[in-house]
């Protein structure tokens, strides 16, 4: 396997084979992990412009600096009213990946575990953290076993710096939310909490905690080795670097791909075998069409893009946001022509409503109301009042909860009403279309 450094070629994160890289293979491919001072590391990450790959796309350097500063402040004797213990800060590597349809973190952790573990070590060095948790979904015990193996291998080789505990996280959609995860690790519930204070200032057990997606930590490990300039050799500024995306749905070759940020959507989906031009001919989605009709970008809290119209949309946080969708955890779900986008949206909204924590009034009441309205739109004959109410709900939800669930649900609904406007008119005139009727019969 060729070493990765000094090249602007992909793949960077994934080994290019389906097998797991053991520690030796990992070191052969990537070289040793240099021990750099914390200040240097943070500066390098800032210069690289790395953003979080878990969904929020928050600048990683800023978060790292915030945790480092909070940890330094907590360590000063006069500032801390708690007894001074060794634990100044914690790292939480978030591999819970609760987004349905996202598999990138699982694939990354399975194939390049040492890259993520390197990232944890780098983050610990940069923040002065004394302990890390690597959080995985509870329904992947085999993956957890593999990670524990990898951690043990590092310990045997003398390559481990900070103790890493593999933690199986149960639960649903909100389980991977930053503050919910911190709450769980602190022995509390899996409910998001109100910020401020952010986990960077007060996280697990009240200590400054860096919560970072597993993929982000992998990028961190590469930046620590090869530097910010190398990181920026791929990608379209200001969003630099590469990202893992999960392509699912009506594509010949679904799976996890690595792509430079800013690559046009059409180019990314072509890697999965989907081509905008050519392919089979088709008319509207309610005719005997074969072509995919839309792409859901950014997961259930992202947005729809019409296909093939959106083939030029750059796959980046800013590019997708401008197009009315989102990068989110990098999921691209392709909707086949034989499906009804409104029905799919209704089902997703119903599922999202079921996942709500029930803490915040607007979401507790508003999200099920939006799901109900969309169910009427998709599976009954939408009345103008229903459409008006749905529209009103999409404006009542954003920014009024403690987490992104209501915002994302509203965004999804708005994009669906825009992208599937033609279907909406058809439903208003004729009631549910055949694909919608089929979808209504399927189990949720």
């Amino acid at each position: 396997m060729a070493p990765v450094n000094r090249t602007d070629q992909l793949p960077r994160l994934l080994p290019g084979t389906a097998a797991t890289l053991n520690l030796d293979e990992h070191l052969t491919r990537y070289g040793p992990l240099p021990l750099r001072p914390a200040g240097d590391l943070i500066a390098e990450v800032r210069a690289a412009g790395l953003t979080g790959r878990g969904g929020a796309a928050f600048p990683a350097g800023t978060k790292l600096a915030a945790v480092a500063a909070a940890a330094a402040a907590a360590a000063r004797p006069r500032a801390s009213h708690r007894r001074r213990t060794a634990a100044a800060a914690f790292i939480v590597a978030n591999g819970v990946e609760s987004e349905p349809g996202s598999g990138k973190d699982a694939v990354l952790l399975a194939r390049s575990p040492h890259l993520v573990l390197d990232g944890i070590a780098v983050a610990a060095r940069a923040t002065g953290a004394s302990r890390a948790w690597l959080c995985l979904p509870a329904d992947k015990p085999r993956l957890a076993g593999q990670l524990r193996e990898a951690i043990a291998a590092r310990a045997r080789a003398g390559a481990s710096s900070v103790p890493v505990l593999v933690e199986a996280i149960p639960g649903g959609y909100l389980a991977s939310q930053e503050s919910a995860l911190v709450s769980w690790l602190s022995g509390g519930s899996q409910q998001p909490s109100f910020v401020p204070p952010r986990p960077a200032d007060q996280g697990v057990r009240g200590r400054p905690t860096l919560v970072q997606n597993a993929e982000t930590l992998a990028h961190l490990a590469l930046i620590a080795r090869y530097g910010a300039a190398w990181f920026r050799t791929v990608g379209v500024p200001p969003e630099a670097g590469s990202a893992l995306v999960t392509v699912t749905g009506a594509v010949p070759h679904p799976g996890v791909l690595e792509t430079p940020l800013g690559t046009p959507l059409g180019t990314v989906l072509a890697q999965a075998g989907l081509h905008p031009a050519g392919g089979r001919r088709g008319t509207s989605q309610h005719g005997p069409a074969r072509r995919p009709q839309a792409v859901l970008a950014g997961g259930y809290l992202g947005g729809w893009l019409a296909w093939p119209d959106a083939a030029d949309v750059p796959v980046s946080a800013a590019g997708l946001r401008r197009a009315g969708a989102a990068l989110g955890p990098g999921t691209l779900a392709v909707l086949p022509a034989a499906a009804c986008g409104l029905a799919q949206t209704a089902r997703i909204l119903a599922w999202l409503a079921g996942q709500r924590a029930g803490q915040c009034g607007p979401c507790t009441h508003g999200l099920p109301a939006l799901a109900e309205a969309f169910a009427q739109i998709a599976f009954a004959r939408p009345h103008p009042d229903t459409l008006g109410w749905a529209s009103q709900l999409t404006q009542l939800l954003p920014g009024r909860g403690a987490c992104y669930l209501p915002d994302g649900g509203a965004g999804l609904a708005v994009s669906a009403l825009r992208v599937f406007a033609k279907d909406l008119r058809w439903h208003a005139g004729h009631g549910p279309c055949p694909p919608a009727i089929r979808a209504a019969r399927e189990a949720p």
Partner: protein, 71 residues
Amino acid sequence: MSDWLRVNPIACEAHGVCAELLPELITLDPWGYPIVAPGPVPPALASHARRAVAACPTLALLLHHEDGATS
């Protein structure tokens, strides 16, 4: 020096006292939860805003001051 109003949505239990005391900036949604007008609190309404913050039964209404302090 501008102040910013914010609601802690977890603490809020829809008592609606804030909307009564600061109707210029706070309205209630169909379920009784507050919708705060965006932007800083106009200086003329600052004392009313402070009163609304103090009157919230669950201390869910917060006033962020520009210097970082919160009430």
